[in-house]
């Protein structure tokens, strides 16, 4: 199903003409209204009128998260505060929060995008939506809330926390759609089991999960435990919040980027070159319709690929692959860019191997050595040496195949890899460079 046929199925030629017009407009606006952008553009030797084709996008300077912090809180807004009707902010775990603003029209745009997300995942105005994303400065809760209301569905604005009560409400109110982070979905399943509730007896049929990276294995687990179809969506507050891209229920093969509002690029995070479709690299977004807080070529640090092939659902928008990691974690091994998430995906493909692993990089003379410790669990354990050695060889083979780098895999006992309270420490780099 498609919420906005006109835009979502627009032929590429018309879409590109629209994008160019909107891009020229936004570039002119930020140049005139925001001293930061004027300086950046001047330093790069480019004027708004130099943007005459979409190809000129790559000549524009990047915007980094640090730029948002340097202009904290409202320095990058292009409208006076009297026109700003909403303010959101990131959690600010690694410094000052990044603050974003919305005009009335921005909220309308965002609401429509979230309605598109819901419809792409099979929701209709007849659905009851249990929205367990956090309400507040975080964009998840209100993003879904406005999207659901725009669609005309019924929203239960439960927000996060108080999980036992959430289970009770799910039983009593009979929501058909769940929206929350994927990890909270699994937590709901655990708590339901504890209190003796059965998701199979509830009316839930689908769930929309985002705001954190998750894997195919996790999707299968959520779908099984909650007895629903799980849809992946993507967004970040710097661009608009949730609703930058989403999966369609027809294909579930990549997330359609709402290209009439955001232009995506994939770049090599080191050389900063724009990469051709299909290449893996860092996602960069330019917002082309936002009023209060447009951003030009925002470096997301998220790793993905772009696919411009037509989709069975009928949308013409490019599809981005599920975000597979962050450039902040990137390793360069023998000249090859390696992301821990790529190694993790190899491990996940091998049935039964839990992604408890540790990557060790060292240098022997001039040669980088990549070692991976993988914890053995009961599913893959065998009483025969050859089976375990074959497992090691298979992981080594798949890593070489996918990353183009050879690694030495060592099986280790369970629980021997240090657990972290927060972000897992996946890489120990012993190289002295």
């Amino acid at each position: 199903m498609i919420y906005n046929e006109e835009y979502e199925t627009m032929p590429r030629e018309a879409l590109e003409a629209l994008q160019l017009k909107r891009l020229q407009n936004v570039v002119k606006r930020v140049y005139e209204k925001v001293p930061f952008y004027k300086k950046r553009f001047d330093d790069a030797g480019i004027k708004p009128e130099d943007v005459t084709s979409l190809d000129d996008l790559k000549r524009l300077p990047f915007t980094y998260k640090q730029d948002l912090r340097d202009n904290y809180p409202f320095g990058l807004f292009t409208v006076p505060m009297e026109d700003v009707v909403r303010i959101h902010a990131s959690s600010g775990t690694t410094g000052k929060p990044t603050v974003v603003g919305y005009t009335k029209k921005d909220i309308e745009t965002w609401s429509e995008l979230m309605a598109r997300v819901l419809v792409a995942g099979g929701a209709t105005k007849h659905d009851i939506i249990h929205n367990a994303y956090g309400y507040g400065l975080f964009t998840g809760g209100l993003g879904f809330h406005y999207g659901a209301e725009t669609l005309g569905a019924s929203v239960i604005p439960i927000s996060g926390g108080n999980t036992k009560r959430q289970i009770m409400i799910m039983q009593d109110f009979g929501p058909t759609v769940l929206t929350c982070t994927p990890s909270y979905a699994l937590h709901l399943a655990e708590v339901a089991e504890e209190v003796g509730s059965d998701f199979k007896k509830m009316k839930l049929k689908s769930g929309f999960f985002g705001a954190e990276p998750w894997s195919t294995v996790m999707r299968k687990e959520i779908e099984k435990k909650l007895n629903i179809s799980a849809i992946d969506l993507y967004g970040l507050s710097e661009i608009i919040g949730p609703g930058v891209s989403t999966e369609c229920m027809e294909a579930k093969d990549g997330l359609h980027v709402f290209e009439d509002h955001f232009i995506p690029e994939i770049i090599d995070p080191v050389t900063e070159e724009v990469l051709p479709p299909g290449s893996q690299g860092e996602l960069v977004f330019t917002t082309i319709t936002k009023e209060a807080f447009p951003v030009i070529r925002y470096r997301t640090r998220d790793i993905s690929t772009l696919n411009y092939d037509p989709c069975v659902c009928g949308r013409n928008f490019a599809r981005m692959a599920r975000v597979s990691g962050r450039t902040d974690d990137m390793l360069i091994i023998r000249g090859v860019n390696v992301f821990p998430s790529q190694i993790e995906s190899v491990l996940l493909e091998i049935e039964g191997v839990e992604p408890h692993y540790q990557i060790m990089v060292d240098r022997d003379g001039a040669l980088d050595i990549l070692g991976i410790d993988v914890e053995v669990n009961e599913t893959v354990f065998s009483d025969e040496i050859k089976n375990l050695q074959n497992l090691e060889k298979r992981i080594e083979h798949d890593i070489k195949d996918i990353l183009g780098v050879s690694a030495t895999v060592k099986l280790v006992e369970p629980k021997t890899i240090k657990r972290s309270e927060g972000k897992a420490v996946r890489v120990i780099d012993k190289r002295k460079i």
């Binding site: 053995v376 669990n377 009961e378 354990f381 065998s382 009483d383 025969e384 040496i385 375990l388 050695q389 090691e392 060592k410 099986l411 280790v412 006992e413 369970p414 629980k415 021997t416």
Partner: protein, 143 residues
């Protein structure tokens, strides 16, 4: 006629085998037979004990990866050529031995050898037909 064997994944670092035997000892589990297969990175400890379920349970609780496999225990005449006679039978029947190890205990005038086959049921039948004694699990656990 099958015997339950526990296998345990061990990293090649000092103290791991001691840890397994300590856990078993403290739980009152007695080891009847033992074999350790190793590579440069890891080892697999295979044991037959007097209480398989309990051993499995306490080792899992101790954080080890534990598997359970069925093997068979065969009486081998304790004289030159005793084992060769049994291996000849296996060879002529094309029964492939995954691994084997000897049992320290003795049963009458015979040694006991543990065999791991892929085709365990056929192995039991073939050996039985040829007059070889395959010991029942209860007897092995209690030896």
């Amino acid at each position: 006629m099958k015997v339950e064997q526990i296998s345990i994944f061990l990293e090649n670092k000092s103290g791991r085998l001691a840890e397994v035997t300590r856990i078993l000892g403290e739980s009152g589990v007695n080891i009847r037979a033992l074999s350790l297969a190793d590579t440069t990175d890891f080892g697999i400890l295979r044991i037959i004990v007097n209480n398989t379920e309990k051993a499995k349970d306490v080792l899992k609780k101790g954080g080890f990866t534990v598997g359970k496999t069925e093997v068979i225990a065969v009486e081998v005449p304790d004289h030159p050529g005793g084992l060769a006679g049994i291996l000849d039978i296996l060879k002529s029947e094309k029964l492939n031995v995954e691994y084997m190890y000897a049992f320290v205990e003795r049963s009458g005038q015979c040694a006991v050898i543990i065999f791991r086959f892929d085709e365990i049921d056929r192995a039991i039948k073939v050996l039985g037909d040829k007059g070889v004694t395959v010991l029942p699990g209860e007897k092995v656990y209690a030896l």
